[in-house]
């Protein structure tokens, strides 16, 4: 059913067609790069890293202290390189590495205390940095479904269709998460400004 809808979108070149075409292209590129990396092409894996590092960064930023994110991104890609042979569907590299990132964030919280996160993030080098951390903290307090999508959109600068393609979520889910998450964030921002 969804495949038929997607095919129809592509044929009619509706607005959804762009997203569908983009998805087809990206998944094809992913599959080729994963295949190359499995055959020992380190540059192929480097390309995958360039494509997906912002996604992994955004997923981690929505969950773990900012100071830890850069090192965790490297760790996750090293882990993915070692375990790449376990990836069954080569075109699903994005959802696969997104899941690794989420699991790694959960592991991080098991090992460390929440207090470390607060002291690291609230402290900023200047006023704008401090304000950014405050807003990030507000986003992190939103329900889990919204915070990741909002960080990818507002911090990493991805569009809704890009988020859908790279995370493996449906465009409809991403749209709903963005809309509802943004509504909640606006309410929280007004509340904090009122105080």
């Amino acid at each position: 059913m969804y495949e038929l809808d997607a095919t129809a979108d592509v044929l009619l070149m509706t607005p959804q067609a762009n997203a569908a075409t983009q998805q087809v292209k990206e998944t094809a590129v992913e599959a080729v790069l994963v295949g190359a990396a499995l055959e020992g092409d380190r540059e192929g894996f480097g390309r995958l890293y360039d494509l997906y590092a912002p996604l992994v960064h955004g997923i981690l930023l929505a969950r773990v202290p900012r100071a830890e994110v850069a090192d965790l991104v490297q760790d996750i890609f090293l882990h993915a390189y070692r375990k790449l042979h376990t990836l069954r569907d080569r075109a699903a590299f994005g959802p696969w590495i997104a899941m690794i990132a989420r699991n790694r964030a959960v592991d991080f919280h098991r090992r460390t205390r929440e207090t470390v996160e607060l002291t690291d993030d609230v402290r900023g080098s200047n006023t704008s940095d401090s304000r950014a951390n405050e807003i990030l903290e507000l986003i992190r307090n939103l329900p889990e479904a919204y915070r990741e999508t909002l960080v990818l959109r507002l911090v990493e600068g991805m569009t809704g269709p890009e988020i859908a393609v790279r995370t493996g979520l449906t465009p409809a889910s991403v749209r709903v998460n963005l809309h509802r998450g943004m509504k909640l964030l606006r309410e929280k921002l007004r509340f904090t400004e009122g105080i």
């Binding site: 490297q74 890609f77 090293l78 070692r82 790449l84 990030l136 911090v155 809704g160």
Partner: protein
């Protein structure tokens, strides 16, 4: 609120979202080269050895089962030759010595079957000597049971057709 701008950055920009994007820009991913160690082993190719071992075990088990079944059949096959030279059928006098109670129980299953079929079964080539003897004994039991049953039927018929002279009818009325 402009949903299009939030969704795919098209249409008129929402000032609040623009402001948030600018504020959060310092947190954005800063490209950093991936440091893959040189000695990092390449992802291993799929190891088919366990699958091969399982397949080989299954094949060996199947072959062993086949050989066992064949040997078993070969052991059973010479029996008909012995059956042809089996001892003669025991006489009916031996059968009469047995207790009649189990014979009546077997009577229900057999009565419609002709006797000559049983005799042909006893001479089947696949039967061993012991089986043949058992079959003959069973046949004798069946024959005895049939005789007992027919005697009982005859007795019952006689009783129904010829009423007893001593029978007192409507005894309760007279009493």
């Amino acid at each position: 609120m402009n949903d299009d701008y939030l969704w795919d950055k098209t249409g008129e920009a929402d000032p609040e979202i623009r402001q948030l994007e600018e504020l959060l820009a310092p947190l954005r991913y800063q490209p950093r080269p991936l440091e893959l160690p040189e000695e990092l082993p390449l992802a291993p190719k799929r190891n088919y050895l366990p699958l091969l071992a399982i397949a080989a075990t299954v094949v060996i088990a199947l072959l062993a089962a086949g050989v066992w079944v064949r040997l078993r059949n070969e052991k059973v096959a010479p029996a008909p030759v012995q059956a042809k030279s089996a001892a003669p059928v025991p006489g009916p006098s031996v059968v009469h010595e047995e207790t009649p109670t189990p014979v009546i129980a077997e009577n229900r299953n057999v009565p419609n079957k002709p006797v000559h079929r049983h005799s042909s079964r006893t001479s089947k080539p696949g039967m061993t000597k012991v089986e043949r003897e058992e079959a003959l004994a069973a046949k004798q039991q069946v024959m005895l049971a049939l005789r007992v049953a027919s005697e009982k039927i005859k007795l019952a018929q006689r009783r129904t057709l010829t009423p007893s002279p001593n029978l007192i009818k409507n005894q309760h009325k007279l009493g």
